[in-house]
Symmetry: C2
Subunit: 152 residues, 2 copies
């Protein structure tokens, strides 16, 4: 009987590495879905959907702004972006799952209401699982375009 229990325990142990592999595939799938859904939600002017993609205790780090703390404030930030008529394209460059956190690196392009590209840059998103779903947890980006010379 004891041996049977230990046999089951060993099987569970063997499965632990399988779970780890699954967790990684699971994360990649979440990032791939996010890369489609995020720009689509902006295009649909659906700030509630954007908010729902962030963890409750997420922080966003927009350039020229202090940190934006929490899902509600972040949703409000994106509402402002949408209201200005901007849309965005994103391209995931890499994903890496480190257990309970995962990271995504990518590139973005921002287009204004007239269809003109006003910014292109790069981002790092730290994802975290909340209630069984991967959510954006730390979201930071900056421009790759040359600095604007100061007005004088």
């Amino acid at each position: 009987m004891k041996n049977k229990i230990f046999f089951v325990l060993s099987l569970l142990l063997c499965n632990a590495s399988v779970w780890a592999a699954d967790a990684s595939a699971d994360f990649k799938a979440a990032v791939q879905a996010g890369a489609k859904d995020f720009p689509a939600a902006i295009a649909a002017k659906d700030d509630a959907r954007l908010g729902s993609m962030y963890a409750k205790d997420a922080i966003a780090f927009p350039p020229n702004s202090e940190m934006v703390n929490g899902r509600e404030a972040i949703q409000n930030f994106w509402k402002g972006f949408i209201d200005e008529g901007f849309t965005a394209q994103i391209e995931t460059v890499e994903t890496e799952s480190g257990g309970k956190l995962g990271i995504e690196v990518g590139k973005y392009t921002i287009v204004d209401a007239a269809g003109k590209t006003v910014d292109r840059g790069k981002y790092v998103v730290v994802w975290k699982k909340e209630d069984g779903s991967w959510k954006l947890y730390r979201d930071i980006w900056n421009t790759s375009m040359p600095a604007t010379p100061p007005a004088n």
Copy 2:
């Protein structure tokens, strides 16, 4: 004999969670050391020391620049920063270890050779263990200051 082996195995299992706690304390200590060493290396104009704090396959994401890939290129980026006479102060706001990756959120201030604050902003660093030591793996920051109006 078998039961002895399984007893040892169970002890190892119990230790796994203890290791996890140690890994987290270990990470926090590395971040605390980095928060001192990084600005000190800049002040000492020691770009080699800065380079050694990054993982071999690190990526830095400076504003107004494409991604900077690899330790050598990142060290060269900081050499340029040092040669311009800039120094930096950093303040860690939070750390979180997720197993093989850890994240640090913080704030920075950049001071020019004349002692004038030319930028203040925020950063996210993803750390990773390389050969048993925590290294900066993904390093991205942006300004918290208002946007410069375009020259016209």
